[in-house]
Symmetry: C2
Subunit: 165 residues, 2 copies
């Protein structure tokens, strides 16, 4: 399977990864949440080359995660802002960050602690059920893949087995 086909898989993780699984893209999204808006700052603060910065920002615009807004005329210059779709990536970014804080730290403290303004405490957010508000985790969430999703998985297994014969 070519990578371009992954975005057409039924699975939401596959579709999401087809957009965000690019190496520099998540860093650009992190920057957008930190308030970065201009090309040169995106480039400097991710460490990506100008060309990579340009193609990845345009891809995020095309995907609907960022939008371009003019901030200067003659010549017109644009800055990049999160759309509602982009802002909704906040939970995923926080989940990835807290995992990194725990497992990839260098023992010198959390790089970017988050304070919850509602209660005033430093928080390490956790996932709960939106029905009962109890904690959810790998031990109490059960996947119930749709018939379509199951068919696609069976097909991929069958095609792979056929290739091997």
């Amino acid at each position: 399977m070519r990578w371009d086909d992954v975005g057409r898989q039924i699975c939401s993780v596959a579709r999401t990864t087809a957009i965000l699984g690019d190496r520099w893209t998540m860093l650009l999204i992190r920057e957008a949440f930190l308030g970065t808006r201009r090309f040169d700052e995106f480039r400097a603060l991710t460490g990506a080359s100008p060309q990579i910065t340009a193609t990845r920002l345009e891809r995020l615009v095309k995907a609907g995660i960022l939008r371009k807004a003019p901030y200067q005329e003659r010549p017109t210059r644009y800055e990049y802002r999160l759309t509602p779709m982009g802002r909704d990536l906040h939970s995923a970014l926080i989940s990835l960050m807290t995992w990194g804080d725990k497992w990839l730290n260098d023992g010198r403290g959390v790089p970017n602690p988050l304070r919850h303004s509602t209660c005033g405490e430093i928080t390490r957010p956790k996932l709960v059920c939106d029905c009962c508000d109890e904690a959810v985790g790998v031990e109490n969430l059960i996947s119930e893949p749709s018939a379509r999703m199951q068919r696609q998985r069976h097909k991929m297994l069958a095609e792979s087995a056929a290739t091997e014969i």
Copy 2:
């Protein structure tokens, strides 16, 4: 900056992305959570080539996210299982999946609904504060980057500006 240097940035998102930002890696982790353990199934169900599957699985072993366990002798064959570090990626995977369910769906239903066995309902997990149990989001979480992290960001901006002159 070369990509290999991103994993040495102080930011936890950068360190995490340096491991998971590879295009096929998140799909392999999805498979591990769905119960896939053997090489041929990882390959078939992600659609990755044998070579990509092999290098990415080994990288996940090296990173401590998967471990190899023998399931057959003469010749010894190994399967891949999530470590505690790997199992702890569950929240991030769920957050990415629910974002994809919402924003990248094709209008034909959620591909892989999750049932919360504790309450019995289909759930769309949400993030809450681990101190006060109230919802957290982009509107009430305040970043408080450490002095180290701030220094690194200032340095990246300054070096970039110097290059432009």
